[in-house]
Amino acid sequence: MSDACEPLRESAVFNLTEAVVMVVDDSPFSMEVTIQALQGFGIRVKYAVKNAAQAMDVLKLYPIDMLLVDCEMDGHELVRWLRRSGLEPNAYVPVIMTASHVRRSRVADVRDCGANFLVTKPFSAAVVLERIIWVARDNRPFLEAGDYSGPDRRFKVSKPRDDNERRADMVRLADHLARQAAAALEEPKA
């Protein structure tokens, strides 16, 4: 995964024409700005809804590939509900939150709701595109720890030590990588 702050190359090619995207925003103008920017990126917004209740109705019925949620209108509550909903595959969908201003009392809620990334406005098409491509390549595992359910909040990529690894998540990661490597070796035989 590339660094979270790494700028995009102009020549880099991506294809999100088949992505099923939902935008949740209670401001009609902000919604239109987001939709127009996404269309420029070749992304068609399939679901554009103005509140959490409408979003939940869609999420319960249809699989989506990416969710963009405005932080106001309690967007963090929607994301928290989604991560704990058990909906497959939507509970694990990449989520980008946007906010023009986050109240201090809500910073912790937004941080802990389980979104992949928070984009603070002023809205910049370049930043949104960077974040979309970043979350598409975001391979952080999902964690359920206490009250938190969502992608691992640690951005620094850590690797299991060769010897004497005692960190539980690194032990699991080493097991997972070993299984992946074993499966890759077995594949040609099948």
Binding site: L8, R9, E10, S11, A12, V13, F14, N15, L16, T17, E18, A19, S27, F29, S30, E32, V33, Q36, A37, L38, Q39, G40, F41, G42, P63, D65, M66, E72, P89, Y92, V93, P94, S100, H101, R103, R104, S105, K121, P122, F123, S124, A125, A126, L129, I133, V135, A136, R137, D138, N139, P141, F142, L143, E144, A145, G146, A168, D169, R172, L173
Partner: protein, 161 residues
């Protein structure tokens, strides 16, 4: 003891993005900018209307809930950021964000100095009326607003320009 469940997941988005076809970042950005340009007039109208509404806000009178008036000013500040942000009006966004920070920092139950709202409304009107080349005036207005924010919230993390 907290139990940590660890689930490696690969999103469908990560597969879709590498499919053949698509477009380059340069083309995508050019298309997005062209699409957003069509909304510029609408954004300017929204910004002007919201700033006028902010300037017309009256301080809450006796018996009125000050929280309602402050929430309205806060929402107007947010709306200015929403509308001005996509069109590189960082000056308007910065002024509006300062107002939001100050309202957000207001302690519940403590009296709020309404002159903060008035000064921000006037500053936003001034900035909106400035010609694009008036960088010095713009910088001075933002510096004064920043000074006020810094004085009220010493721990704020916001630069003046």
């Amino acid at each position: 003891m907290t139990v940590v469940m660890w689930k490696p997941r690969t999103s469908r988005l990560s597969t879709i993005i590498d499919q053949p076809g698509g477009l380059s970042v340069g083309v995508a950005m050019a298309q997005a900018r062209a699409n957003l340009e069509d909304l510029k007039g609408q954004a300017e109208a929204i910004v002007a209307e919201r700033i006028a509404r902010l300037a017309a806000l009256k301080p809450p009178g006796a018996g009125q809930d000050p929280i309602l008036a402050l929430n309205e000013a806060y929402e107007i500040g947010r709306a200015v950021i929403d509308a001005a942000g996509p069109f590189d009006r960082d000056d308007l966004c910065k002024a509006a964000a300062g107002l939001c920070d100050l309202i957000d920092a207001a302690e519940q139950g403590a009296p709020f100095d309404w002159r903060i709202v008035t000064v921000h409304a006037q500053a936003l009107q001034l900035i909106l009326g400035l010609p694009p080349e008036a960088d010095a005036a713009r910088t001075e207005i933002l510096a004064n607003l920043h000074h006020m924010v810094k004085r009220k919230i010493p721990t704020i993390d916001q630069s003046a320009d």
